[in-house]
Amino acid sequence: MTSFPRPAEGTWTEHYSELGTAPISFQDSISPEFYRREQDAIFRQAWLNVGRIEDLPKKGSWFTKDIVAARTSVIVTRGPDDSVKAFHNVCRHRGNKLVWDTKPTQEAQGFARQFVCKYHGWRYGLDGSCTYVHQENEFFDVDKDKLGLAEVQCEVFAGFIFVCLARQPQQTLRDFLGPMVGALEGYPFELMTERYSFRAENNSNWKVFIDAFQEYYHVPPLHTYQLGPNNRDPNAEFEGAHYQLDGPHRVVTTSGSQKHKWPVETMYPTEVLLRSGNMGPWDATEFDSELPGINPGGVKRWGIDNFQIFPNLEVLIYERNWYLSYRFWPTSHNTHVFEADLWFTPARTARERLAREYAAITVKEYALQDAGTLDGTQLGLESEAFDEYPLNDQEILVRHFHKSVGDWVAAHEGTAAGASR
């Protein structure tokens, strides 16, 4: 039984006929060789979200982001003129990793007028220019003006900072994001500045964890306990209200009665007391502004938009006026780092803070269930017991994601082959 209108074809998957309905292979999630191809074709080519504008609170703010899959680290800076720039985090002299704290393998952040290389003391401005060469007169024909850091393409969309490691990006960020994601320009992300961040190192391919967040088919069986004692049904059915694809990006919108309107006996006592839960604090801050870009399908009783932005960014926008973003950073073919940022309007009172804390802890509790399952999925896939796996219509985004990854790799390799011919 379907509760929401579906496209004329009868299913979302058939509506996007290029996807087909055949079972799919997950070789792309277990093969070290395919991971090497993704590194070159995706992580060194696509626009990647490395942070938010809130990570650079004032002139002189900087942070580093290690992008293991692209075999580099970048420094992102906010210069004296407020411009946001990114550079390979590598000293022009002899290639030392330029900025790090206690360990070169850890990310760092701070505030600076300049960067000083720990090795021989060369210095660089926030605009990447080389400002000091130690014992400059010992060098042969050096020209400081030509010894700046290697700049990386960097653009900001709706406060999300993206970099592209390709020397010549194929597309501007805005073209890359396309009309569906691009419509979020102007959404008041900047009003949500109270932040919780999470980090996990997981033993699975990066795509396997993304898959766990881009279908809700698993929610009733795996997350039965998201609902209080009198309301649990592991056999409940889930149906997305709207699915939409745009280039390599995709969205699923959920709909349903708002949690705060449910009978209290179906919820947990602390949830009721703090008026908060997995859908966020019930007492939402009202926004005066327009909310462009959300609910692209115009569904009734809009709940959540789950934007999956290629390749590794997920942005969830909730009806209760908060949002979260997930980023999945591969570190090998079967390991990745998971980062989550939850953003709320600032709590004014202890009571409001506790409501936010409850929502944040709920996200962590249920994400632990997803993460626990994940090791099992990776182990299962690596056994190669099956060549292909069936996907249902509610798993359309999984199907689209793996196809997009394959298409992206093939297109890059086609271009590279064409160029070398």
Binding site: R195, F198, Y268, T270, L273, R348, G372
Partner: protein, 108 residues
């Protein structure tokens, strides 16, 4: 010296739950027995229930030390509410070796 505002004196025996970071609070939760968690929950939950107005009147800006301790203790109650109300064990069932660390959180 009392850790909490006077009307929360009943929480003084549980002052060791007034921990400043999520990592500390979660760490204490998963190294406690269910009996210990239940005892803390039974003491703190009724006070959270009766203090909604008080907490609404406690601004975050310039929060006093006592109110901040209270905020931390009730934050511990939040993490403890999951074993008590939901999982029936200190850790998330079937989460295996997975761990998720909070790296940024609002302070206070």
């Amino acid at each position: 010296m009392a850790a909490f505002p006077t009307q929360f004196a009943a929480l003084e025996p549980y002052a060791d739950w007034a921990l400043p970071s999520e990592a500390d609070r979660y760490g204490k939760r998963i190294t406690s027995t269910m009996d210990e968690l239940q005892e803390f929950y039974d003491a703190a939950f009724p006070l959270l229930d009766s203090s909604t107005e008080y907490l609404q009147g406690a601004p975050i800006d310039g929060i006093s030390d006592e109110d901040r301790n209270l905020l931390w203790l009730f934050s511990s109650l939040i993490t403890v509410s999951f074993p008590i109300e939901c999982w029936r064990q200190p850790t998330v069932p079937d989460s295996g070796p997975a761990s998720i660390d909070v790296t940024v959180e609002p302070r206070p």
